[in-house]
């Protein structure tokens, strides 16, 4: 396969960026999308040009590092991560536009690499259960109904890649935040911090400059882990409940 790539190139955070065009030849349909970019980079290095910078690590769809918008879609046309997207999803002769996540809370570091530390700060604001090492009771002391455990797991599957923010027309981090809120708030272990967790995480999310939800649904469509849009609804409910509860204290 032969492809034309139009790639966002931006030297650093302060520089202006622009799309640059490259041709890649000899692409195998079995290649992953990132392996295709590897091929391009090998050529660029030998030509003495700066290779395209992009975040990637596990290349098996779980670490959440890879983050490309391909033809206007976060992680490209399949519902998966960029690293698990294979070239068989494209056709010989295609032109592909490759851009970084775009959101003011995710500033570009270089080319296709963005700074997603805002996500870490949202977790730091309350996305945990306070259980210092050594303080834990016997694991079977608190049975958790299977449906609750499964529901918590579904939300806990979030890999923090940021595709939800990239896809959202408002650059909102509601799906990311709600996934963690729901994971922990569904479990009995998370109950003592149920209210403060959702209030603090949402406050931090706002603080970071993410947009709000207009229920466009793009986030859930882009999510490689299938976190449902109803996750946001549940978080809204938790948030409203928390404001009432906390006000009564």
């Amino acid at each position: 396969m032969k492809l034309t790539l139009r790639v966002w190139r931006q030297r650093n955070a302060d520089a202006d960026g622009a799309m640059s065009t490259y041709e890649v030849d000899g692409v195998s349909p079995d290649m992953s999308f990132l392996e295709m970019l590897d091929t391009l980079n090998e050529e660029l290095i030998l030509k003495g040009e700066d290779p395209v910078a992009f975040d990637h690590d596990c290349r098996e769809g779980i670490c959440g590092a890879c983050s490309l918008v391909i033809n206007g879609e976060a992680h490209g046309p399949e519902r998966t991560t960029t690293c698990q997207l294979h070239m068989r999803s494209f056709r010989d002769g295609d032109t592909l536009d490759i851009e970084p996540w775009r959101a003011s809370a995710f500033p570009v570091i270089k080319d296709l690499v963005v700074d997603r530390s805002a996500f870490d700060r949202i977790i730091q604001a309350g996305g945990y259960i306070t259980a210092p090492t050594g303080s834990a009771p016997e694991a079977h002391a608190t049975p958790v109904p299977k449906p609750d455990a499964d529901l918590a797991f579904e939300h806990a599957e979030c890999i923090g890649c940021g595709a939800c923010v990239a896809a959202c027309p408002n650059g909102a981090a509601m799906l990311f935040t709600s996934a963690k809120v729901n994971h922990l708030n569904v479990l009995p272990q998370g109950a003592p911090e149920r209210e403060t967790r959702v209030l603090d995480m949402v406050a931090q999310m706002d603080e970071e400059g993410f947009g709000g939800c207009t229920l466009a649904g793009e986030c859930a469509t882009a999510c490689p882990k299938g976190i449902p849009l109803t996750s946001i609804t549940s978080m809204n409910k938790e948030w409203l409940r928390a404001t009432r509860k906390v006000a009564k204290r």
Binding site: P169, C213, T230, T233, L240, T243
Partner: protein
Amino acid sequence: MALATRTDRRPSLARTVWDSSVGKKAVMAVSGIVMLLYLVVHMIGNLKIFFGPGEFNHYAHWLRTLGEPFMHYEWTLWMIRVVLVAAVVAHAVSAYQLSRRDLRARPSKYVHRKARASYATRTMRWGGVILGLFIVWHLLDLTTGTVHAGGFQEGHPYQNVVDTFSTWYGNVVYIVAVLALGLHVRHGFFSAAQTLGAGSRTRNRALRAVADVLALLLTAGFVAVPVGVMTGVVS
């Protein structure tokens, strides 16, 4: 960037709600639902126009005497008006502030653009602006009569309505606004339900159906009046 630190002293409920994007959305949802309820009543009232001037004018007069003898003439109506104005203002201010936040959060667009959200979703902002402007015109036209075409008569709403919809622009403005309303309600109702946490995987299908039915009923109910006038059913 400073972290929101955990402290037992928290701002008041109102402060928390107004300062948060989620809270402000809840304000929009509640004020939207207030307006929606009003619109349903308003639409039912409007349909009385098909039963002749007597019944329609009597209904309009009754609105002013609602609650008597406990209430004085027009007191109840004014109370409703105050609530409605508050709802409109809350809705509009929240929408403005949230939109500003949203636009700031995504300053640069993708070079390769791909819109996927539904039409109703994407037109919420402009739809809202259109509806806002319409309300102003609508009040000046049929409540105060300031911009009314053909001699506004206090206490004769039937004739006033017929006058308005006897002009081409009266019909155009009204029908465009009602269509915008339909789209706005379609996404707005569902969205409000989610904001207030009423949605769930099992309930969302029903909520979407309710939103569609509501949007359709309101559109049809409101459009019926100008259509009635135009076709001569109401004259």
